[in-house]
């Protein structure tokens, strides 16, 4: 990593500028409410970085990132609920929503989440491990293209339905009303700002990891698999392993994003991780430029910002806009906004990313 940073001073400058905006400028100019919204969008942007890696660079159309986002979110939410219950009624108490649902005994699988260390380890390892297993199972058998897309989408559907059926996970309503985040009161504006800083830090870290992966030999291989999988195989590489790494990295990003999302927004429910929200994660990535590093981040920020500002004023108009954006951007501008400069310069890009991704 150092080698790359040393050889590219521009990268350092870019990270420094982003850090200055995120950590210095934004908290100064934005009100507490706006900063909370930005923190929420940053979480979506973290997911988008992973999708950019798996879809833009790896050609895997993952329509089910909501699963990993949801896993991270629910794991974190379970810990927060346990901590709240312990704070109110002593260790091992039953969280409040279970009391309302008539569950008196704490389900066994909840118990370990009283431990913060266990929770964080689970957030990092569980979704990633699941993605590795699923990725190997699917990619080793060379299930790809539309088949993979459909499977990932079905996974999101099954996961949401599974959660709705689990009363011990809040069912349809999900988990909400968290008071403390690892001992910090969530009502305190200072702590809310701290959560924003955490989200910003995670985003920068995710971008740095994605950058390193893109510039490494692995990144070249991933691109090669996207553009000509058979040739990579003939050269003696196992394309399934290469794809699985990108898929699992995307899953890890989504999971951490979900875990940070929960204390910021204060609720996680099956409705925000099902099939439609999972595809919505892709919209920003497509608009920003799926194969670029920062396109997905900026695209996601723009889309969710637009959603928040427009959907209240024009609820039905926003849905039309979303649909039209999908149609227009992907049909006419598959490289996203990032490709406009290239088009403007009339540099014929010989291998448009979308053409290859297909």
């Amino acid at each position: 990593m150092n080698r790359f940073f040393a050889s590219r001073p521009g990268t350092w400058a870019g990270f420094a500028a982003a850090a200055a905006v995120l950590f210095g400028l934004a908290p100064l100019v934005l009100s507490g409410f706006r900063l909370g919204l930005l923190a929420q969008f940053l979480c979506y942007a973290i997911v988008a970085v992973g999708i950019g890696l798996a879809w833009g660079r790896g050609g895997m159309l993952t329509l089910g990132q909501g699963v990993f986002f949801g896993m991270g979110a629910y794991l974190m939410a379970m810990h927060l609920k346990m901590a709240d219950a312990a704070f109110r009624n002593g260790p091992g108490a039953v969280p409040d929503f279970m009391e309302l649902a008539g569950i008196r005994e704490l389900p066994a699988y909840w118990a370990p989440f009283a431990s913060p260390v266990f929770t964080i380890a689970a957030i990092l390892l569980l979704p990633t491990g699941f993605a590795v297993l699923l990725g190997l199972a699917v990619f080793k058998r060379r299930v790809k293209g539309a088949y993979f897309a459909i499977l990932s989408q079905a996974l999101a559907g099954a996961f949401a339905i599974l959660l709705i059926g689990q009363q011990s996970l809040g069912g349809f309503n999900g988990l909400s009303r968290f008071r403390y985040f690892f001992g910090y009161n969530l009502d305190d504006p200072v702590n809310q700002q701290m959560l924003y800083y955490i989200a910003a830090g995670v985003l920068l870290a995710a971008v740095a990891i994605a950058l390193q992966l893109r510039r490494s030999r692995y990144g070249e291989l991933l691109l090669a698999v996207r553009d000509a999988e058979a040739r990579v195989r003939f050269l003696g590489y196992d394309a399934a392993n290469i794809k699985t790494v990108a898929y699992a990295t995307a899953a890890l990003f989504a999971s951490v994003a979900g875990a940070v999302f929960v204390p910021i927004v204060g609720i996680i429910s099956p409705a925000s991780i099902g099939i439609v929200p999972s595809i919505m994660f892709l919209l920003g990535v497509a608009i920003g430029g799926r194969a670029t590093l920062l396109g997905p981040v900026l695209g996601a920020l723009a889309v969710y910002w637009a959603q928040t500002t427009l959907s209240e004023q024009f609820p039905s108009g926003w849905v039309y806009a979303q649909g039209l954006l999908f149609v227009l951007v992907i049909a006419l501008l598959p490289g996203g906004i990032a490709s406009i400069t290239a088009l403007a310069k009339r540099i014929p890009t010989k291998r448009a990313p979308a053409e290859a991704a297909a």
Binding site: L155, G165, A358
Partner: protein, 294 residues
Amino acid sequence: MDLLVGQLFTGLSTGSILLLAALGLSLTFGQMGVINMAHGEFIMAGCYTAYVVQQIAGDAGVSLLIALPLGFAVGGAMGLVLEALLIRHLYHRPLDTLLVTFGVGLILQQVARDVFGAPAVNVSVPPALRGGVDLLGVTVPKTRLFIMGLAIVAVTAVALVLRFTPAGRRIRAVVGNRDLAETAGISSRAVDAGTFFIGSGLAGVAGVALTLIGSTSPTTGQSYLVDAFLVVVAGGLGRIKGAVVAAVALGATQAVFETYSTASLAKVGVFIVIVVFLQLRPQGLFTLRTRSLA
């Protein structure tokens, strides 16, 4: 025994619904390798066609008879427009087509929400199809039997058209080898449009039939779409036979899981079964033998 027959029937019934939803999808997917996410909205359009026809015609039996062909026409027309405006131009980018058609689906859903309202509407069932029939000691709702019959008719019709008509022959030629078919003088563009018309029309018919067993809302199609996709994936590309077997098998699997657990666990069970199944046959049940690398 009763339980077994009951299960068998539930499986067949679920399977025939899946089949109706998936038949058109399998046709268009097999034809162009294109996943049409707006297929669910074509189903929804069929549902609302049945609703509108009943509002105008009044009588439930007559309106069903009008709605079935009209649903085919409505779905087919929407498919034609979609194919001509978008899908034709994205033929070489199948994954992008998936997202573009998802966008189209979003728009169509919102149109339905603005025209008919978000709450679900109901279509009343013709008197002849109300109640149940005793079959081998199990009471079977007549509507379910009707849908099974409709699925059989639809599959037979599609199979006969593909097998014996000149148009069907052209479709099979293009599915088998597009370039060779074009060399032989077949306009693959016209065939694509025709296939899309039939496939989307079948979605409309499925929609009309679904109003018999459930209410209609703007998101009706979406709820059937994922299962229909799974049928196509498990059945194999462009094979009607595959779609039939996969639909019945998935229906049965879901019914069995539901007996021993809950409906939500059944969905997860079906997903696991499909992932395991794809370990054995990555290209689905029945595949066209090709020598291509992809």
